[in-house]
């Protein structure tokens, strides 16, 4: 346990809106200190639900029915709101999915970056500003002074995502949850952002839980991967193992379906319907 930053055990949840349908089925996963774990699945597979459960921001309609989320030896699920609030944003941070909506359009970048520093690291306004400037430089923004004074709409999507990455790493967290941080970006920008996250992560030794639906990204950035379908863990292990020797037919089919990370010229076979039928039978849904 000591080397694990995050351990999720037997996590189950149901959605009240869907008439009590299970959305997480006995999920377990671990993340080592300084490790990067990919959390993969199609829409509705439950990957975002896990991320939200860790952050404590599940919608009211989703109810956790069992399990533990152990962060540095403490169960997040049984914590009081105050304790959670002191951990979130300082020890655990989030890189959100859509840089368009994740920055307040009415406030300047500098002020938004400084918020976390002032609130979580008790910095004075002046120190926070200097620190924010440094952070912008760290995320390879060329003209940090100008960006500090800019409003979000004056920046490109990639720039905004850099700012959000800076904001996430600003508080020196031990765990960063990256919720599909590149989905909304151009493919070319995507790569730079992935490299940046990897760079920030390894320089600081931060653990990253990387939520995505893209196996190619997993291959680029993650050490280990957990594959979900319909709220159940289908396959789990070090990236290389899973991608090269998948156990499950679904994993195999997925890899066959996508352009292969090592052979982009191959693939694009649709996942056979039979695989889904088998999967559903296995999990126990009709």
């Amino acid at each position: 346990m000591t080397e694990n930053l995050l351990t999720v055990t037997g996590l189950s949840a149901v959605s009240d809106r869907e008439g009590g349908m299970p959305v997480l089925r006995d999920v377990g996963l671990t993340l080592k200190n300084g490790g990067v774990r990919g959390l993969v699945g199609e829409s509705g597979a439950g990957k975002s639900t896990i991320a939200k459960a860790i952050l404590g921001i599940l919608p009211r309609t989703v109810r956790i029915t069992g399990g533990w989320i152990n962060f540095k030896g403490r169960d997040l699920l049984s914590m009081k709101p105050q304790e959670l609030r002191s951990i979130m944003g300082s020890e655990i941070a989030l890189i959100p999915q859509d840089p368009q909506t994740a920055l307040n359009p009415a406030r300047r970048i500098g002020a938004q970056l400084a918020d976390g520093l002032k609130l979580k690291r008790d910095m004075s306004a002046r120190t926070a500003e200097a620190h924010a400037l440094q952070l912008l430089a760290d995320v390879q923004i060329r003209d940090p002074d100008r960006v500090m004074k800019s409003f979000p709409h004056q920046l490109s999507g990639g720039m905004r995502q850099r700012v959000l990455i800076a904001a996430a790493f600003a508080v020196e967290p031990e765990l960063v949850i990256a919720d599909e941080p590149t989905t909304a970006l151009d493919v070319t920008v995507q790569k730079e952002i992935l490299r940046l996250i990897r760079h920030m992560q390894s320089a600081r030794g931060t653990g990253v839980l990387f939520v995505t639906h893209d196996l190619g990204i997993v291959a680029q950035i993650c050490d280990s991967v957990t594959l979900l379908y319909a709220g159940k863990v289908i396959e789990e292990g070090p990236v290389r193992n899973v991608l090269e020797n998948p156990n499950h037919a679904y994993t195999k089919a997925l890899i066959a379906a996508g352009p292969r990370y090592d052979r982009p010229d191959a693939g694009l076979e649709p996942v056979p319907e039979a695989v889904f039928r088998e999967l559903r039978q296995e999990i126990g849904i009709s």
């Binding site: 809106r17 199609e42 493919v187 639906h213 997925l254 379906a257 996508g258 319907e273 889904f276 999967l279």
Partner: protein
């Protein structure tokens, strides 16, 4: 580089919209507003059968009787009488005729004019849009109360003047919304597709765009009816609406106000009815808007 690798599959169940709860709430609003308005329409149509007395029948000997549950009431006058001895309940019932007439006719006419101009401005753009938008701007620069008082002064008082005043003032509400909505719709893919397919522009407007505007239009009409009821009441209140002894709610309010200490029911009864009606139209309108507007429903 190829498209990013994404996992897609038929497994995802069709999700219910996240606003199911809100829709329920909306339906409840529609239910309340709609059933009250329906009741009112029935009452207005069958007023002669429902009203216990002739609303014009006066008896100075029976003036200012209190409602049935108070001391000194006369049997048969459930909500009491006014200072001319006319039955308050019957006058309220007959008053709903004027209120609904004004509401329905003026809101429909305002919607008709506003929609046509709004569609033209939003769809054809260019100078048509500029002219229509400018007229709307100028129009909206008039204070509505003053303008309606002036208009009634021009046309003379009466129901037709009230309706004319409301239509002349409020068509702009429809025009603005319809124009914006048309503009938004015309930039959507299905319109582009239709245009590329070579459909005539007018046909696209009437067959493709207009049906998509109808829901918000219905909601607007309902809200407008509530406004019309209030405007009629205000004009009756200042004595510029129906001037005969035909009962109107606003006229009853103005009359009751003079006698508030003497016979409070003369003010409270029409106020309560006016208020409930406006509330019903508002609820119906906003409920419909929530339920029908694709943007709000999200």
């Amino acid at each position: 580089m190829a498209e990013p690798i994404t996992i897609t599959g038929p497994a995802a169940k069709p999700r219910r919209t996240p606003s199911r709860l809100r829709n329920l709430f909306a339906e409840r609003q529609v239910l309340f507003g709609g059933s009250f308005i329906l009741l009112l329409v029935v009452i207005a149509i069958f007023a002669p059968f429902i009203a216990p007395k002739d609303p014009l029948e006066q008896d100075l000997m029976l003036g200012s009787l209190p409602p049935a549950w108070l001391d000194g009431a006369e049997p048969g006058y459930y909500l009491g009488t006014d200072d001319l001895g006319r039955d308050v309940l019957s006058r309220l019932i007959y008053g709903s005729r004027i209120a609904l007439l004004v509401a329905i006719v003026s809101a429909s006419l305002a919607a008709l004019i506003g929609t046509i101009l709004g569609l033209l401005a939003g769809w054809y753009g260019g100078w048509a849009d500029r002219i229509i938008s400018r007229i709307v701007d100028i129009w909206m620069a008039f204070p509505p109360v003053l303008l309606s008082i002036l208009l009634v002064a021009v046309f003379g008082s009466g129901v037709h003047s009230v309706i004319a005043a409301i239509v002349i003032i409020d068509w702009t509400r429809f025009c603005r919304v319809v124009r914006a909505e048309t503009l938004a719709q015309s930039q959507l893919d299905y319109v582009t597709a239709a245009r590329t397919a070579g459909f005539p522009r007018m046909k696209i407007l009437t067959r493709e765009i207009f049906p998509n505007i109808v829901p918000i239009l219905i909601a607007l009409v309902s809200l407008e009816m509530g406004i019309a009821v209030v405007v009629e009441a205000i004009l009756s209140f200042v004595g510029l609406s129906v001037s005969s002894d035909t009962p109107t709610w606003g006229g009853m309010i103005a009359q009751g106000r003079q006698l508030i200490h003497h016979a409070w029911w003369l003010l409270v009864a029409p106020l309560a009815v006016l208020f409930t009606t406006v509330l019903a139209f508002n609820q119906l309108g906003s409920g419909l808007r929530r339920a029908l507007d694709p943007v709000l429903r999200r």
